[in-house]
């Protein structure tokens, strides 16, 4: 029984991290049709932001805010300098973000070296959940992730900004004729997406080794979540939960490598089965 509870908690907290890393990706892909291969590097930058603030003796909360701000700025800059010029070709935008990811990785490596860094856990210790001890920080992280994803969904569904964002996603040209500045809306969406990635990076930093290529580990599963969820943001939570369950349970019974392959296979099965998956050619 205790083991079941521990496993469930593990799945929930992995799903939360997954959803957190995937929600920004899903914003830029679902709403702007931009596959951002530099998303993992935005996450890395967020993690390094929290490392740097910690080096200066600032608190963990400041690090989180700094990460979000750096992400927002980087995202806005990327949109202005690269993405904006490449809307006409999804292929070129993939390539540009692909190149950007190389540049960011190299810059981090030049600035901070190849060795890994760590961030002190702000909430060490464990909390009793249904009689099972569970790391307090992971509980906080789970709550944070759910709150962020729900907030993003709420903004999209219930605010006038969300309405404009959805209108541009549906038909940018038509929205322009209705007075919605589509380029500005896209700038906001992309910058938000980058800020979410950086926030996720700062949030996972205390649990992992912070190193220049850490983003790749997270982005692998995040992309799988987006592949399963398709072009909509809401299914991200469900997809994250499903993939996290398969990954954690396979790891528990066999080994981490098979778990990675299992979620890969699961994602491909989902693409095969779902007739309305977001990637299909619309003919």
């Amino acid at each position: 029984m205790d083991q079941t509870i521990a496993l469930t908690l593990g799945v929930l907290s992995s799903a939360a991290v997954l959803a957190l890393t995937a929600v920004g990706l899903s914003l830029s892909f679902g709403l702007m049709r931009i596959i951002n291969l530099a998303h993992g590097e935005f996450l890395t930058v967020g993690a390094y932001s929290s490392v740097v603030t910690a080096d200066h003796g600032l608190s963990w909360g400041v690090g989180l805010a700094a990460a979000a701000a750096v992400g927002l700025g980087m995202g806005a800059l990327t949109e202005l300098l690269l993405i904006r010029r490449l809307y006409r070709s999804p292929e070129l935008s993939i390539l540009a973000t692909f190149g950007l990811s190389i540049v960011v990785r190299q810059l981090i490596q030049l600035a901070y070296g190849k060795d890994y860094r760590t961030v002190a856990n702000p909430l060490p210790g464990a909390t009793q959940v249904l009689g099972v001890p569970f790391p307090t920080y992971q509980l906080l992280l789970t709550g944070f992730a759910v709150a962020i994803v729900v907030a993003v969904l709420a903004v999209l569904r219930f605010t006038s900004l969300g309405l404009r964002v959805r209108a541009v996603a549906d038909d940018a040209a038509l929205s322009e004729t209705l007075g919605v500045p589509s380029t500005r809306v896209n700038l906001v969406v992309f910058a938000t997406s980058a800020a979410l990635a950086a926030t996720a990076g700062a949030l996972v930093a205390p649990l992992t080794n912070v190193q220049p290529d850490m983003g790749l580990d997270y982005v692998f599963t995040a992309f799988l979540v987006v592949i399963v969820a398709g072009r909509r943001v809401a299914p991200v939570l469900v997809a994250a939960l499903g993939l996290a369950a398969v990954q954690n349970l396979t790891t528990f019974w066999t080994d981490p490598l098979l778990a990675r392959l299992a979620i890969l296979v699961l994602a491909f099965l989902a693409v095969q089965v779902r007739p309305s998956a977001g990637f299909r050619v619309a003919t």
Partner: protein
Amino acid sequence: MNPFVRQLLPIPLAAAAAVLAGPYAGGLLAQFLVLGTVTAALALTWGTAGILNLGHSVTFGAGAYAGAWFSLFAEAHGGAYGSLAGLGAGALLGGVMAWLIAAVGLRRRLDAVGFALVTFVVALAAEQVAGRWTGVTGGFNGLTDIPRFHIGALSFTPTAARGVTAGLAVLVIVLLASLARRPYGVALAAVRDNERRMAALGYDVGAAKTGVFTFTGVVAGLMGAVYVMQVQFVSPGLIGLVMGTNFVVWAMLGSRRTVWGPVVATLVVSAGANLLADAALDYWLLVTGAAFVAAVVLVPDGVAVVVRHRMPARWFPARRVVLGRAAPVADGQAREGLVVRSVGCRFGPFTALRGVDLDLTEPGVHCLIGPNGAGKSTLLDVLSGFTPATDGSWRLNGQDVTGRPPWELTRSGLGRKFQAPSIAGSLTLAENLALARWGRTHGARALVRQRWTANLPPEAWFVLDAAGFADRMDTLAGSLSHGEQQLLELAMTLTAGCDVLLLDEPTAGMTRSETEQVAEVLRGLVHDHGLPVLVVEHDMAFIRSVADRVTVLRGGEVMATGTVAEIESNSEVSAVYVGRAAGGRP
């Protein structure tokens, strides 16, 4: 000198240098040549066929591991043919993996961006498998001391082994360059430009893409095995995303639309990375990444294309395509035409077509009219296989062809012209027409063997002569005016040949005289070739001049069928168009 030979000349020279230079420099050069070959293979799938593959390293690395494993296994068990087994296994494994990736992605109609993402994820997964499956791959440390290339007891000196490596690389590069120039490569480029048109010409587009992806997988796998026999070491780095990134960067910088550009870019960038080694390597990678981003934004066609535009044009003469006149097709065979019975099509809750019956069994022009949204284009899309029907059936020449894919329908004798002009814009008129000629008859192998000559049927020449295309065959089809593109597409449809012709607004965007030419072509097709033709049209003057029968579609259902006179006097029909209530009451 033959321009093809001149373009590729630097590559055998580099190979010769690889053999002659000392073991260190020569070895590196041979190694880079092999990587250049693999990049050139990526250029064929990506640049020519338009399939972006971010995980090209997966097949290369799989081939490398297979080559290493078989060489080591044979050595440990006293086998003499480990190298050959390794090369074979590398090619096979590369091909199988590429086929699997293509089967998951391309066959299921993922779009180009979705497929690129799949290849990205596969590359990430492959590196982890290679790093952790220690029993076979040696884990993160990889496999070392792989025997050099050898055959039986015949052992090669390091210089001779370098010769084998460089020679194989040159051979493969020449093969790839030659494939890209042949009708096979040009047909792939046309698929990249306009997939629907190629399907409607009779090309099995899905098989073509899967085929080229698998073929380049075989090449990458083979060269992976060659690579490990040269460097005698394999590690997860060869299979992962960083390597995949390298191939894409090299192909992009060199220019993915050529074969020699990516090879040169690979040699230059790899040599730079090697010369700068340790301290400056990080800066070099940074500069390469920044150059890549700049290339994407500023010169998306790549440096080679820019360089090529600065060289004398006579170095790159246009391809000479010989278009002949075929004898008229012998008529008199009994054709049964197209019989459509109660075809329906729904998109979710929306019913686009319901219970449509149509007979195109007699020679004649049958016009399909109706208000916007009546389902005219949807009906043509359903009948030619681009949109699945949810109900009903249709027979072509007495054969049930319900639900067949577009290319099969074309090969069974259905011709289709789209509403928006649909041609391969980056190819010349002559190339478009030649490809149209081969669609119904040629598979991949026939396209590789085919020479650049094609005989077009008289009805295609009639359109081409009327449009004045005969002396403009070497211009790019994309530079034609809208009306001219319509005429070219009509000529292509006629070149492919058909027993029943479906035309979607063939005169849209045409001048009065072009419209009259089309009307004359249609009358000729009916009179001389006995073709049943279905035409979607709005222009009543055109309809009066060509139509033998008219069918009115409204809200997805057939409202009336009859001669022009009958339809024009039908009060229900005029009510739909003019807006009066049925029965003539105000």
